[in-house]
Structures are given as C-alpha cells and as structure tokens.
C-alpha cells in the first residue's frame, strides 16, 4: 500500500523509511509524470539536470544577481547571508520578478528565455513556493487554503487530493481551523500541503523555518526533511542556517553578493570553505591574512605567517594543511573558536602542532559559552565552557598557551 505509485528505485534505495511512507502515493501524479505512476524504472538518473537556471537580474539598489547552475531531483540547498540574492533567485524562477537576461527551464519546460522571448506568466509555471512568512490566507480555513490552488479540479478528485495532502502532513484534524489558530509548525505544514497539492514541477522553499522558535526548529526541520526528501521533483531550499544545511542537504549552492561562489555536498563546501562569507557562515570566528613561508610536501603541511587583519604589526607562524599554493602565496586562514584549546602552563606531549604563548585579554559570557580573547601575536577568539573558566581560574591578563591542531586551520581563497 505504502509503496504504490512510487516506482523509481533511486528513491527507494536512499529513502528514509519514515519520510517515504509519509508521502507514499500522495504526491505528484499528473500525466507528465506518468513514468512514476506506471511504476516503470525511472530513466532519469540523479545527475540529469531537472532544473537549468542561467540568469542576470539587476535590482534597483544596484545589486546584481548573476548565476548559472543546473540541479537534479532531490533537495538542493541555496545557502547565503541575507541580501545575497536568495529570495530574488527564487522569485525569478517563480516568475514573480523578471530577469534582464537568461534562461530558466524546469523538467525540460522552458519558463523563461530572453533570447526566444519566452516569459511564462506566474500562473502557468506550476511552481510550488513556500514563502518565508508562509503567506497563508488568513481568512480561509486550513482546508480552504489547501484547496485554493486547485481551481480547475472539482468534485471527488479535488476532495481526494486535498484529503491525501492533509493526511500525509498530519494536519487532517486541523482542517477547519484558521491559520491564526495554528502553531508555527502546523502553519508550516499547511503551507507545504498547499504547495504540494497542486502537483508542482519544482518546489521552492524560502527559509521555511526562519519564523519558528529555536527549540522546535530542529524537530520541524526533521519533519520537513521526511516530507520533501522523496518528492519526485527538484526542491530548492533557501537558508542561512548551517544546521539546516547539514540536516537537509545533499547538494548545496553558496550564494554571495549575487554570485555562486561554491557548490557541492554540504560537507565539501562547508568543511573546506573558499570564500570568507562561507567561512563566517560556517562558523569561523577567527579569520587571518596568511602568507606561505614554507611548504612541506612530504608531511602534507605548510608553514604560514599569519597576521590579523586589524593588527598588522605582530605576526606569528603556524602549521596548516597543504593546499595548492606556492611560496609567498597570500591566503586566508579560518579557525573555529570552538577548535582552539587553552592551557595555563606549557603543554607537553601533545599531537597538536601549533602551541602559541599568549595573554588573556578579556572574557565575556554569551549564553552558556565563555568567549575568551587571547593576544598571541594575533588576536584570537576561543570558546570555553563555564567549568573550564572556573577550574583554570582564568582572568584577563593571565599568561596562557593557545593550542590549535593543524587540521583546524582552514585555508580560504582570497
């Protein structure tokens, strides 16, 4: 029963059983997707581009979006700081705003092509779009919200589709409520049901968890992943939260100031960040200018002289992993504050290669974390627990040693 209507083995193989069964046969059975319905093996492999986007879009505030990418079925994360152009990109795909130039195709259907003069109206694009603020119709019940997009479908089929969508997202008991009477997570599922019931050719999610409180966010992110990861349509998921990236993403694109600066699996992108924005987003509190002073091919490491961008005078040498770089090449080094150790006496017998003497400048408590600033030639942020501060009797001005593993030094391209 559960497996009815899902005929492509790719999904089965990687399916999380829960998410798989929750969507079951509910979604996407329009004539264009007959391959799925008839349970034939799916010819399209996971690497076939389901979505092609190549656009340039200028905004009034001099911002320019200039991206080109193709994505396959499944979830693709679009990651970037606010103002990077993420929502503009989704709006271009949905047709809510028109690019100056470019080409957008979803599942082989051209939605926009400036050269051929094609610009399908929003209404005809068959897009599922879950907005950041969800944009549920406040005057309509949950059921009426979900029915809203099924204009051409009446009677029993309409009833069945709505019932299935509500049921698979577990919001059937809420069908007569108004959006104002729902919790954040419930509203979220209503918005998803409303988008999916129309059987869209692509699903766009614009920071769908941003409006939720932190404690429930991860739980709902998990529910959301179960709901969307086996959809037989491409899903573009916009976020600026790294937790969501690791939780949801198989592939990601990093957007910075309107350009794609990195793409790949979340692990590839965030563990070896190339741009500084990514580095900061990925959690590097310490970023330094660095210059290669020695290359140790045989050991797979390099020695770099680092100087803080703010304090040019003092400089210190550290050992970093080897990358493709030449002597005297200029790089940047990112170090996560949580990857740095502090010692109150000279440590011995450690595998860590970077042990730098320094002086504690300040200690500040941020939630349950102590942020220590240490001057060890360069200024470094270190995260400590409350217990570590107390047992080491750390006070500003105290002599300390900073310990950083070679592989905690992440090299970023300029």
């Amino acid at each position: 029963m559960v497996l009815k209507g899902i005929g492509f083995s790719r999904s089965v193989s990687r399916a999380d059983q829960r998410g798989f069964s929750r969507w079951g046969a509910a979604v996407l059975k329009n004539p264009a997707d007959n391959v799925i319905e008839s349970a034939k093996p799916r010819l399209q492999g996971p690497t076939d581009p389901a979505v092609q986007v190549r656009i340039q879009k200028k905004r009034e505030d001099a911002f320019e979006l200039d991206v080109a990418f193709t994505i396959a079925q499944g979830i693709t994360i679009i990651f970037g700081a606010s103002g990077a152009g993420k929502t503009t990109l989704l709006d271009c795909i949905a047709g809510l705003t028109t690019p100056e130039w470019g080409h957008i195709a979803v599942g082989g259907r051209v939605l926009f092509d400036s050269d051929r003069g094609i610009n399908l109206p929003v209404q005809n694009r068959r897009i599922g779009y879950v907005f950041q603020d969800l944009a549920l119709f406040p005057h309509l019940s949950v059921k009426a919200n979900v029915v809203y997009g099924l204009s051409g479908i009446h009677g029993q089929e309409c009833e069945q589709r709505v019932h299935k969508a509500l049921d698979t997202l577990s919001i059937l008991p809420l069908r007569d409520r108004r959006p104002a009477q729902l919790s954040g997570g419930e509203r979220q599922r209503v918005a998803l049901a409303r988008a999916l019931v129309t059987e869209p050719s692509i699903l766009l999610l614009d920071e769908p968890l941003a409006a939720l409180d932190l404690p429930v966010r991860m739980k709902i992110a998990d529910d959301l992943r179960c709901s969307i990861q086996n959809l037989p349509v491409p899903v573009l998921y916009v976020t600026h939260s790294r937790d969501e990236v690791f939780m949801l993403g198989e592939r990601m694109l990093v957007l910075e100031r309107g350009k794609i600066i990195a793409q790949g699996t979340p692990h590839e992108v965030l563990s070896a960040p190339r741009g500084e924005t990514v580095a900061q987003l990925a959690g590097f509190e310490n970023i330094f200018d660095a210059q290669v002073t020695a290359i140790h091919e045989e050991r797979g490491t390099m020695t770099c002289r680092v100087g803080s961008t703010r304090f040019e005078t003092a400089q210190v040498e550290i050992e970093t992993p080897l990358v493709h770089a030449v002597q005297d090449a200029k790089l940047r080094v990112g170090i996560s504050a949580g990857d740095v150790l502090l010692a109150t006496s000279v440590p011995v017998g450690l595998s860590a290669r970077n042990i730098l003497p320094g002086r504690l400048l300040s200690l500040a408590q941020r939630d349950m974390i102590i942020v220590a600033r240490v001057d060890c030639g360069v200024e470094l942020s270190v995260h400590l627990t409350l217990g570590a501060r107390d047992s080491l009797e750390l006070v500003p001005g105290r002599q300390v040693w900073v310990i950083v593993k070679t592989h905690s030094c992440h090299l970023l391209a300029e």
Partner: protein, 243 residues
C-alpha cells in the same frame, strides 16, 4: 443679533413636529441606495487601479478623484448641470436619444451624487486593497489563480472593513448633500426634493418644528451609520472584549 436672524426663536421653544415628509424621505433613501450601489460598481475597478497601478501619472487621477472633498458643492453642481444640459455634447446626445434633458431629473441627481461621493467610496476601498499583504497576492499567483480571481478570493474578503466604510460613508454622504442636489435637481417634490432640501424649505417657511424632526431623522441615520463603521473596524482591531 439673534432677534434679527431668528425672529420667532424667542417666541417659543422649538417643538418636534409629528409631520414628516415621507415622500422626501423615501426619495432620499432611493437616491442613497442607488448611488451606493453604483459607486460600488465604479469604485471596485477604480480603487483596484489606484491601489496597484504603477503608472507614473497616477497621482493626477488620485487628485481628480479626491477633488469633491475640497471643492464647494456648488462648483461641482454647476459643471454637472452644464454637462447634463443642452450646452454640452453629452446633454444634446442624451436629449436626442430620450427626448428630455437629464437636468432636474432623478437620474441627473444620481449622476451628480455619484461624482460628489466618489472619493468617499474609492479612497477607503483603495486604502484597504493596497493594505493586503503583497505576499498573499504572490502566493495566489504562484498557485495558478488569475488576477481577477485573486481579487474576489483574497483582496475583497480581506478588505471588508474598507468595504463597510466605503458603503456607509457613501450612503451617509449622499443622504446629506445639499449643494449639488439643489444645483442639478432643483426642488421638485417626488423627483428631486431630498430631505436636506426639505429642511431648507421648512426653515424658509418658518416651520421650525418640522425642520427639527427632519434634521433629527437625518442626524440619527448618519450617527447609526458611522457607529456601524467604527464598531466594525474596532472589531477588526481586536480590542473588542472577548465574549
């Protein structure tokens, strides 16, 4: 001073007369209902255009719509009278079609009143249309729903307070107008003599008790309509006590 302007006032306190010109009352109601209905039909597309058009000269249209608020009713009445009469192309065309002029008829009165009450219908409607969250309109479009359908299914239901305000203000304003009615309609019993003209006549005849009754009726209806508007909007502001 008082003795000069109101010679009879000193003689006796003003009484309430049981007399009421019911013909004028029903004529006024008929006029107010017709104008409100017509202004809803005209006001919807006009307010929609004002709320959503990006035309650079839109402000000129907005100024023209708002004109009756600041213009003396006699100015508007004068031009409507000219336009309806034989001096204008429209007036001559109407007469050739129907055999009579529009001036000093009920239909002429309706035309004058529609123009005079236009801003009272269009402005609240346009304000509440524009107030609907643009993301809801985007959501509707993405779901494949046309602009016209979106108007009826999202914009209008979310503009009920503007709708009630527009209807009540138009009705009350039409009921109470004087200058335009006098200029365009004259004072023909059963055809163009409305309650506000009726009061004027009654005062001219020094029939203060009858004028008092008529004025009270007009005042009471206006008060009820405005109370309706404010109570309705208040409910939407969510400060209404929970039951």
């Amino acid at each position: 001073m008082a003795a000069v302007t109101m010679p009879r006032m000193e003689a006796a306190a003003i009484t309430l007369s049981v007399f009421m010109d019911w013909q004028a009352f029903w004529l006024t109601m008929r006029l107010a209902f017709s104008v409100t209905a017509l202004l809803l039909i005209i006001g919807f597309p006009l307010a929609y255009w004002i709320a959503f058009s990006k035309w650079r000269w839109k402000f000129l249209v907005e100024a023209i719509v708002g004109l009756p608020i600041v213009l003396p009713p006699t100015v508007l009445g004068f031009y409507v009278l000219i336009a309806l009469g034989q001096r204008s192309l429209f007036g001559r065309w109407w007469q050739s079609m129907t055999g009579h002029t529009l001036a000093f008829t009920f239909a002429g009165l309706v035309i004058g009143s529609v123009l005079y009450s236009l801003p009272f219908a269009v402005q609240p409607l346009a304000a509440s249309f524009a107030n609907v969250d643009s993301r809801l309109l985007a959501a509707s479009a993405v779901l494949g729903v046309s602009k016209l359908q979106t108007f009826w299914r999202v914009i209008v239901p979310l503009s009920t307070s503007g709708l009630v305000t527009a209807m009540a203000l138009t009705f009350a304003h039409t009921m109470g107008e004087f200058g335009v009615v006098l200029m365009v309609g004259g004072n023909i019993p059963g055809v163009t003599r409305t309650l506000s003209i009726n009061i004027y006549d009654q005062v001219q005849d020094l029939n203060y008790s009858a004028a008092n009754t008529t004025a009270l009726v007009l005042g009471a209806i206006a008060f009820m309509l405005l109370s309706l508007v404010y109570s309705f909007n208040r409910r939407l502001w969510k400060v209404w006590p929970r039951i």
